[in-house]
């Protein structure tokens, strides 16, 4: 090659490299990820799309855990049922009291106090019905004390006829309402 031509080639190369590019400036198109390929097609970027939240973990505080524990034990406890106008414990209810005594003395229940709640059917009226509910609660409390539940852990209250679990006016319903149930308190 003629040595005289070499500077000409270099000049042409450099001039070509510095030629102006045709750049388009405009706003990005919303909702689309455009990638310009040489073929001119639009490619949808899928990475990171459609990932589900499988579990949202939140730190539970100690109170919430205790509350859940108490509710679970309450659900396990068995109601004690009574005869019409009576507050002595029926023989068929003794096994249920045995069960409740064991439950309340269980390791996970021992830290809680127990509110023993007496309830009546709709047939009593006025103060007497509240007193009847109270005596039912006291009978159950006394029976639990005999079976080893600490007296200090238990308080009693009567809801009279104010807290029915069954609202129909039928003998079956009234029998369900003549009951003692339990609420745990911290």
């Amino acid at each position: 090659m003629n040595k005289k031509l070499i500077p000409i080639f270099i000049a042409v190369f450099l001039l070509g490299g510095c030629a102006k590019k045709n750049v388009q400036v405009g706003p990005p198109v919303r909702g689309e990820t455009r990638s310009t390929s040489y073929s001119g097609e639009v490619e949808r970027v899928k990475e990171g799309e459609g990932i589900q939240t499988i579990q949202e973990m939140r730190e539970k505080d100690a109170d919430e855990i205790k509350l859940e524990q108490m509710k679970r034990i309450e659900r396990e406890a068995k109601e004690i049922y009574f005869d019409f106008d009576k507050y002595d414990i029926r023989p068929d209810q003794e096994p249920r009291i045995e069960y409740d005594a064991k439950l309340f003395n269980r390791k996970d229940a021992r830290e809680f106090n127990i509110r023993v709640e007496g309830n009546c059917d709709e047939w009593g009226t006025d103060e007497y019905n509240y007193a009847l509910g109270l005596k039912r609660a006291k009978s159950v409390r006394d029976a639990l004390i005999v079976r080893g539940v600490s007296a200090e852990r238990m308080s009693i209250i009567s809801y009279g006829e104010s807290n029915p679990v069954c609202m129909d006016h039928t003998p079956e319903c009234w029998a369900k309402n003549r009951r003692v149930e339990f609420e745990l308190i911290p």
């Binding site: 005869d83 047939w123 009226t125 103060e127 509240y130 006291k138 209250i157 009567s158 809801y159 003998p171």
Partner: protein, 417 residues
């Protein structure tokens, strides 16, 4: 002969004041009264309800034969004597609204036989309290005619009503429960009891962590904690001067009756029994109490002198008398007549004197509960349930008359007036 006459007079005088025996004989010709409504344009429903209230009040006063035809007239026109041939009196009234928040009533009572106006008056109040307007007119009308006082028409009733399990609200109402104002709500609020004869304050029990007794002033809204107790706490009665309360309490998990002095704050145990003692009521000039006890194995009524140990039985019939109320030497109680665990039971009301063995049955059917004497001792309020219907009952003891108003208020927990 002389001895017989003296003995007769003695017997008559002995029982003359005894409500268990004495019933005023139905006078064949009680005066007849008609009502003329001269109201112009006003809420039609209010107009109808007001007329019905007047009819009811006149009936309950027991002093009239009431013509219940809804007659119309002009307030200032003369009285048409021919139209009222069968009537002795005409009550004419005119309701009108003054602005948006005042209901006004003009009322006059005309004596058709004497051709004179006996009474003429104008009243005004907020429209929501219209039942008290009707009661006041009939009260004034009775006074103008010199009839026996019917102050019970104007008395407030305070009652607790169940709203859902473990929830009951307290309302103040007129004696027909037409006017109703909720005064305590949220939680289980029970056993309201007027604290004074002026009916400005009442006691009630809130079932909080422990049953707690509060005193409420209905005009200032002031609420004061009085006492709390384990298990149960109810204010059953208040002495006439308002300084002593009879409470049912269970501080040792045992329902007994206590007397509480609101001045000295001293608590005295009146009964001490391992079963149920509840519902204490002052009687015999507040030297004794009557109460409900199950010391016979079923609830019935007993009495004892405050400070003594002896207990006397008052009621010797029935197997279940579980609610009572006292006025001086009289008691009224609800007694269950049937012992049916699997069906409807009947509860009747009885009136008994602590001075004699006589009792008087006051109701014949249904479930009749919450008997409460009015301050006059001659009128009794109660709740009647018959089938699926619930009514407010009113007994005029001296006239042997019972009136029942249908109630649509829900289940009442306790009531006082």
């Amino acid at each position: 002969m002389k001895v017989i006459v003296i003995l007769s007079f003695w017997l008559i005088s002995l029982f003359a004041g005894d409500l268990t025996l004495e019933i005023v004989k139905e006078v064949e010709s009680k005066p007849t009264i008609a009502i003329e409504d001269a109201t112009g344009r006003i809420n039609e429903s209010l107009g109808k309800k007001f007329f019905k209230l007047l009819i009811g009040d006149l009936e309950v006063s027991a002093h009239f034969d009431v013509n219940d035809t809804h007659l119309r007239s002009e307030f200032d026109e003369g009285f048409d004597v021919l139209k009222h041939k069968k009537n002795d009196f005409v009550l004419r009234y005119k309701l009108s609204m003054e602005g948006r928040n005042q209901l006004s009533a003009q009322a006059k009572l005309y004596d058709l036989k004497q051709d004179t106006t006996l009474f003429s008056k104008t009243y005004s109040l907020t429209p929501d309290r219209y039942p008290f307007l009707a009661h006041k007119i009939v009260y004034d009308l009775n006074r103008a005619l010199g009839f026996k006082d019917v102050e019970f028409l104007k008395n407030f009733v305070v009652y607790s009503k169940y709203t859902k399990p473990k929830h009951a609200d307290i309302y103040i109402s007129d004696y027909t429960l037409t006017y109703q104002k909720k005064v305590i709500s949220g939680g289980l609020n029970l056993f309201p009891k007027w604290a004074n004869s002026r009916q400005t304050k009442f006691y009630y029990t809130a079932l909080e962590d422990k049953p707690t007794l509060y005193l409420v002033d209905i005009y200032t809204g002031d609420k004061r904690k009085v006492l709390e107790s384990e298990g149960m706490l109810v204010c059953s009665d208040v002495s006439k001067d308002g300084t002593k309360l009879l409470l049912t309490m269970a501080p040792k998990f045992q329902p007994d009756i206590y007397q509480y002095d609101v001045i000295t704050k001293q608590l005295t145990q009146i009964t001490n029994y391992v079963g149920i003692d509840v519902n204490g009521n002052f009687t015999k000039n507040e030297r004794r109490v009557v109460f409900v006890s199950d010391r016979l194995g079923y609830p019935t009524i007993f009495t004892k002198r405050i400070g003594s140990r002896a207990v006397e039985r008052v009621v010797y019939h029935g197997r279940n008398s579980n609610a009572c109320n006292a006025f001086e030497d009289y008691i009224i109680y609800s007694s269950r007549e049937t012992d049916n665990e699997f069906g409807k039971n009947t509860f009747n009301l009885y009136l008994a004197s602590l001075n004699s063995d006589y009792i008087r049955r006051l109701t014949a059917n249904g479930v009749n509960i919450f008997p409460r004497f009015a301050k006059d001792g001659e009128t009794v309020l109660f709740i009647k349930e018959l089938g699926n219907q619930v009514g407010l009952g009113l007994i005029r003891l001296k006239y042997n008359k019972t009136y029942i108003y249908p109630l649509h208020t829900g289940r009442i927990q306790s009531i006082d007036w």
